[in-house]
C-alpha cells in the first residue's frame, strides 16, 4: 500500500488512491481529497460525510447510494447534486472509506 502526503500528514491509500486506514482520516484531509475531485465542501456535504463515517463504523462496509438515502436520509437526487456523476464513489473517497461493494 503506498503512503502519500495529504495536508502534510502521511496517509495510506490503495492503488486507486482510496484511504485504507480509518483513523488516518481528518476533516482537513477530507477537504484536500474533495478539492482533488473538484468539490468544495458545504455544510450539507459534511452532513453526508459524517453519516458515512458513522455508518461505516456500525456496518463495517461503505454505504451505497441507496443506503445513504434510506438510512441516512439523503435523497439520491441530492447526492448527485452534491457529488456529481459518481456520488457513491466520490462520497466514500472523501470520507476516507473504501469503495462501496454493494450492487444497489
Amino acid at each position: 500500500m503506498p503512503t502519500i502526503e495529504i495536508a502534510s500528514k502521511p496517509v495510506t491509500v490503495n492503488d486507486e488512491g482510496f484511504m485504507t486506514v480509518y483513523d488516518e482520516w481528518s476533516e482537513e484531509i477530507a477537504t484536500v481529497l474533495a478539492a482533488q475531485v473538484e468539490i468544495e465542501l458545504t455544510p450539507r456535504h459534511w452532513e453526508v460525510i459524517h453519516f458515512l463515517r458513522e455508518d461505516f463504523k456500525k456496518e463495517g462496509e461503505s454505504s451505497t447510494s441507496r443506503h445513504t438515502q434510506t438510512v441516512g436520509g439523503f435523497p439520491i437526487k441530492e447526492q448527485f447534486e452534491l457529488f456529481p456523476k459518481k456520488p457513491a464513489k466520490k462520497m466514500s473517497y472523501i470520507a476516507g472509506l473504501p469503495k462501496p461493494k454493494g450492487c444497489v
Binding site: G17, V37, E38, S65, R66, H67, P75, K86, K89
Partner: protein, 173 residues
C-alpha cells in the same frame, strides 16, 4: 517515505458513454437485471435510457407494477436457496406455486435491501435515468399515457428509440 498524490480517476473527462436497456420481460425475476444494471450505470455517471416493450410494459403500468410475479415453471435453474435441490418441474403448475415463489423471491430481495420494482424505477429517475414506453406495446395493450407511471417521458416508436440511442451501448433483456 511518501509517493506523489494518487487521485482516483472519476472520469472527469466526458467520454459521452451512453447505455440503453430494452426491458422486454414482465416476470419479477427478469425485471431486476435491467434495473440493477441501469442503476449501476447511472452511479458511474453514464447517460442511461430504459425502453419498455412487450411484457416489460407491466413494469411501468401503474395498475400492474406492484404485482409482478415469479414462476419457477420452466425454470430448471431454480434451486431451494442455499442448496442444490430442485423442485421437480412436474409440481410447478400446482395452485399457489407462483404466489409462494414470488413471496420467497421478494423476501430474498428485501433481505438484501433491494427495492421493489416501482421504488427502484423511482430511484433510477432520481439518479437521472430516462424511461420510455414502446408505441406498439401501448397499442397492443390498449394503454394510454395516463395508465403509465408519470415519470415515463413518452411513448415512442422503435425508430425514435433507435435514433435517440445513437452511439449507445445496448442491452436487451
Amino acid at each position: 517515505m511518501t509517493t506523489p498524490a494518487i487521485v482516483p480517476n472519476f472520469g472527469a473527462e466526458d467520454t459521452g458513454r451512453k447505455l440503453a436497456i430494452i426491458c422486454s420481460k414482465g416476470n419479477l425475476d427478469m425485471a431486476y437485471p435491467g434495473l440493477i444494471l441501469g442503476n449501476a450505470a447511472l452511479g458511474e455517471g453514464i447517460e442511461t435510457h430504459l425502453f419498455f416493450t412487450f411484457w416489460g410494459f407491466d413494469m411501468i403500468i401503474k395498475s400492474r407494477m406492484n404485482d409482478l410475479q415469479f414462476s419457477p415453471a420452466g425454470n430448471t435453474a431454480m434451486h431451494l436457496p442455499g442448496t442444490d435441490a430442485h423442485i421437480p418441474q412436474s409440481v410447478m403448475p400446482v395452485p399457489g406455486m407462483t404466489a409462494m415463489a414470488t413471496h420467497m423471491l421478494k423476501k430474498q430481495l428485501e433481505d438484501l435491501n433491494i427495492p421493489e420494482v416501482p421504488d427502484f424505477l423511482e430511484q433510477i429517475v432520481a439518479a437521472g435515468g430516462h424511461l420510455w414506453a414502446c408505441r406498439l406495446s401501448a397499442d397492443m395493450n390498449k394503454v394510454e399515457e395516463t395508465d403509465l407511471r408519470d415519470d415515463v417521458e413518452g411513448i415512442i416508436s422503435a425508430s425514435d428509440f433507435i435514433e435517440m440511442t445513437e452511439g449507445a451501448q445496448l442491452l436487451f433483456i
